[in-house]
Symmetry: C2
Subunit: 550 residues, 2 copies
């Protein structure tokens, strides 16, 4: 049985749900495949109406939805109402996208008998993949990256049925959302839902599944990748695996705003964001360092989404403590609740980092950050700079910031630059902006990279190097908060994602579930309307090499 748990008390919520087993996954996928035939054949205009009905249904049931989710996630009313609105907004955006028709990449090349060799009439557009999209829901967004999240919205928009592997951190929310969505789908089987690890494995192996979307850890992403590699027929895997999201603070940056913004971004949602700023490079400046520490000390943690996630974070912090030269610099108040933890600040000697801090930032999902400070010739000990207050609740954890210096990274960044899921970050001070590029070059791929500064001219090579490391570059902002819009790209080089050409947020997320087909000398009456002469649907098309807007 699968139970949801209340992160504030650690107690089970409601009755248990059965794991999907005994052929159940196959039945659900087969039903989705069958339902998908009619859905794929439904005109975009018809699919758009359904997507908007889903959005309306989510918003209409928000009073019920946020309460169910809050009991399982402790994310609170404001955040959860906002997230339902965001999930609904995603369905509305994809309704716009498919009405617009540009996503089809329609191209018409008329025959050219004067070409050598003579060219036939060739027309091309994208079609939905013929089968089921499997979606592995994330823990940290029970609405916007779960059963009715962006993967599901974009796949349904493309014309694909979806089977979601529910995240165990919110099984009842998953069931509730699926019921709400199914009520307005033309066919309930278009959205399947399965529970349990075994069901997830069976799902990836099922031959009716033609693509997999996943949001989660690198370890989880590797596991699914391995399952896909075992398949007889390979399928695309779109895994968004999170990242450290490096931030560079230029000397010209507004310091007070940086300190406050960093603390807020770091601790948003108890740091449980894939865009959490985990690695911050700051100028060597006592005032800024103290401001960062003070800002983080004023923050409050909170209960994490699941006991396993809280334990992972605490385990990560414990490993940091065991690294030898880390000492407690400051300690805040403990929050209330069975599993609440207290804010704390560590300090350590520089030598701690001789071998690059292996393990210091691994699997430490929770409100901790690592600030690695630099003063002069290695005389400042790396330190846990500041720690906030733990919030209340069974799985509450404390924001934490570590410190080290730039020279720590002379021999690379083993372990240090790996994501620590939760409000953990590493702040590295530097003396000269010109010293940064070689260190930044060594970073792995990230979802985002951020620069703070008043003078863009100051950035120099930093911008070029960060450009190759991240899918989204942010100026004078913080990476948490991913706008759902046409231009958004939420992806990046491995390990941020398994498919750097694709995004899981924004209009182009639909691209993942489409593949083109070309029609050569095809009879007009058999052509899709999108490719007929006269452009009856009025969509953007490239005709004989020229982009045309009807």
């Amino acid at each position: 049985m699968i139970y949801g748990y209340d992160p504030r008390t650690g107690e089970p919520v409601g009755g248990g749900l059965c794991e999907t087993g005994g052929g159940g996954v196959g039945v659900i996928v087969d039903a989705a495949v069958a339902a998908g035939e009619g859905w794929r054949a439904t005109a975009a205009a018809g699919r758009a109406v359904v997507l908007e009905a889903v959005a309306d249904a989510l918003v209409g049931r928000v009073d019920e939805l946020w309460r169910v989710a809050d009991r399982e996630t402790a994310l609170g009313e404001v955040r959860l109402r906002g997230e339902v609105a965001r999930a609904a907004g995603q369905f509305r955006l994809f309704a716009q996208v498919i009405r617009d028709g540009g996503y089809l990449g329609a191209v018409v090349d008329h025959a050219d008998s004067s070409a050598m060799p003579p060219r036939p009439d060739v027309r091309r557009m994208r079609h939905p993949l013929a089968g089921v999209v499997a979606v592995f829901a994330a823990s940290n967004f029970p609405f916007a990256f779960s059963v009715a999240g962006g993967d599901t919205a974009s796949a349904l928009a493309a014309g694909c049925p979806v089977v979601v592997k529910a995240h165990p951190a919110h099984p009842n929310t998953s069931e509730c959302v699926a019921r709400v969505v199914r009520e307005v789908l033309p066919c309930a089987e278009l959205l399947g839902l399965v529970h349990g690890v075994g069901a997830g494995v069976e799902l990836v192996r099922h031959r009716g599944v033609v693509a997999v979307g996943f949001t989660g850890s690198v370890a989880g992403g590797r596991a699914i990748r391995a399952l896909i590699e075992e398949r007889e027929v390979p399928i695309p895997f779109f895994g968004e695996l999170g990242s450290v999201n490096p931030v560079v603070v230029l000397p010209s940056a507004a310091r007070a705003e940086v300190a406050a913004g960093f603390a807020a971004s770091l601790t948003l949602g108890v740091g449980q964001f894939c865009t959490n700023p985990g690695l911050v490079f700051v100028p060597d400046d006592d005032e800024l360092r103290e401001a960062l520490a003070a800002a983080v000390e004023r923050t409050t943690g909170g209960p994490m989404l699941a006991e396993r996630i809280r334990d992972g974070y605490l385990g990560g912090l414990e490993r940091l403590g065991r690294l030898g030269r880390l000492a407690v610099l400051a300690e805040g108040e403990s929050g209330e609740g069975a599993w609440a933890v207290a804010p704390r600040v560590f300090a350590a000697d520089l030598e701690t980092f001789a071998d690059g801090l292996p393990g210091i930032a691994e699997e430490c999902f929770g409100p901790a950050a690592l600030v690695v400070t630099y003063r002069d010739v290695g005389d400042l000990p790396p330190a846990v700079l500041a720690e906030g207050r733990a919030g209340q609740g069974a799985w509450a954890v404390t924001p934490r910031v570590f410190a080290a210096d730039l020279e720590t990274f002379a021999d690379g960044l083993p372990g240090i630059a790996e994501e620590c899921f939760g409000p953990a970050a590493l702040v590295v001070t530097y003396r000269d902006v010109g010293d940064l590029p070689p260190v930044l070059e060594r970073l792995e791929g990230s979802l985002t990279a951020t620069v703070h500064g008043a003078d863009p001219g100051e950035a120099g090579e930093v911008v070029r190097v960060l450009g190759g490391k991240a899918g989204r570059l942010v100026w004078n902002g913080w990476p948490t908060g991913v706008a759902v819009c046409w231009a958004m790209h939420h992806g990046g080089p491995w390990p941020a994602s398994t498919a750097p050409a694709h995004t899981s947020v924004g209009a182009t997320a639909i691209d993942r579930w489409l593949a083109p087909r070309a029609y050569q000398d095809w009879p007009a009456e058999l052509l899709p309307d999108e490719l007929k002469d006269g452009n009856p649907l009025g969509i953007p098309r490239r005709v004989d090499g020229v982009l045309t807007i009807s």
Copy 2:
């Protein structure tokens, strides 16, 4: 040492070339990575000029190029001159594509402070992958799918340096083409060339390689896929693996044209095309069957590209002979040359196909086809329907067509529908068009699917089913001959390709080497020109949700 061989004589051509070993691959890739920095930073307009210079250089040196290639491939002057023109045309097309700028997918979403939550300014465009594109050249197109083929042209156009693993069937041509191209590149290291199987393995494993393009067999594709799966950092793999390319002849089709067209398409280039029509469904009609046989009997084979390829094809035919009930129905004249073979026609009993013809069409690269005929309740023996004349030359082979009936496929298509590289095909007769869809449903993915008929209304479900099986649908034409144009899609579901969303021919082939990046609240002076306000480059962009053409 690696030698080129003359397919007409089987003798080595010129001196041997060294396999790239002893760290050579690393040196070449590292040099390409370094050269790539400047190339990536070159404006599209500048890259376009270089692409056109490459096209001019290829055309200017065609007299030298076709001769070198003919000695190693025996493809003949007309075909090879045409292929050089095609390769040059690909470079010119990609110059057009990058001047147009639409390929960048530029999107500008201005900030919207009235949105909830307020939306930042977000702009997005595609950038070249930051590293080397590894290209595995094909055997059958020494120009258009080799060193200066579509993969190389599209990758250079995107802004990526390229290292090509030369195909052993034309090593001297590869060297010659690389010299010609390098003379006009701003930096010779932008196009690396390596020889030998070990070099190919090293290339795929090199960390400087960010994507792999491959054209070849399913076995070769699987081998590269396995190497990529071993990599610490996964990279995209675009393998175009060929296919059986099913053809459905509707009862209304013009029979004489079908017979002549089939024979010509089947034997073009001694059947050595990934678009070779390998599986033909025809109405149950003696006249058509005889016309197909007669047309194929009038064809002439020719020397294959390599001894290994010829042996593979002959081995495949031998296996067919060993299946028991296959008998020789007719035999044509043998061509001249040490390895020439004679045209031949087989016949067999229906029972041969009880288990689905396992192996009958595996690895039989050469001018053979399988026509599986149907008359009534299984009374017509599957037969090798017709065989053409072998051409002259050491590695000459014979076109061949096998026959069987539709009921053979009642229990699936094990082995029967696998590609037999070369002019081999399977012709299946049917009584009713309505009997076809369940059989077509069982086919694996193909690059193309073709329908012949005078009445599109006759096709019914056939078109819907074929649509899900192929990347290109052809009406009243033959799949060989892939037009290089904006609308072309040369790809398809596995095993036709490893990445069904992508093409290796046509304007969108450039998409493979690009990944998007979003810029959030990014300073105007640091934005790429493509995303600046006022659209200084005049490229197509989507601005606040609306597609705009400057």
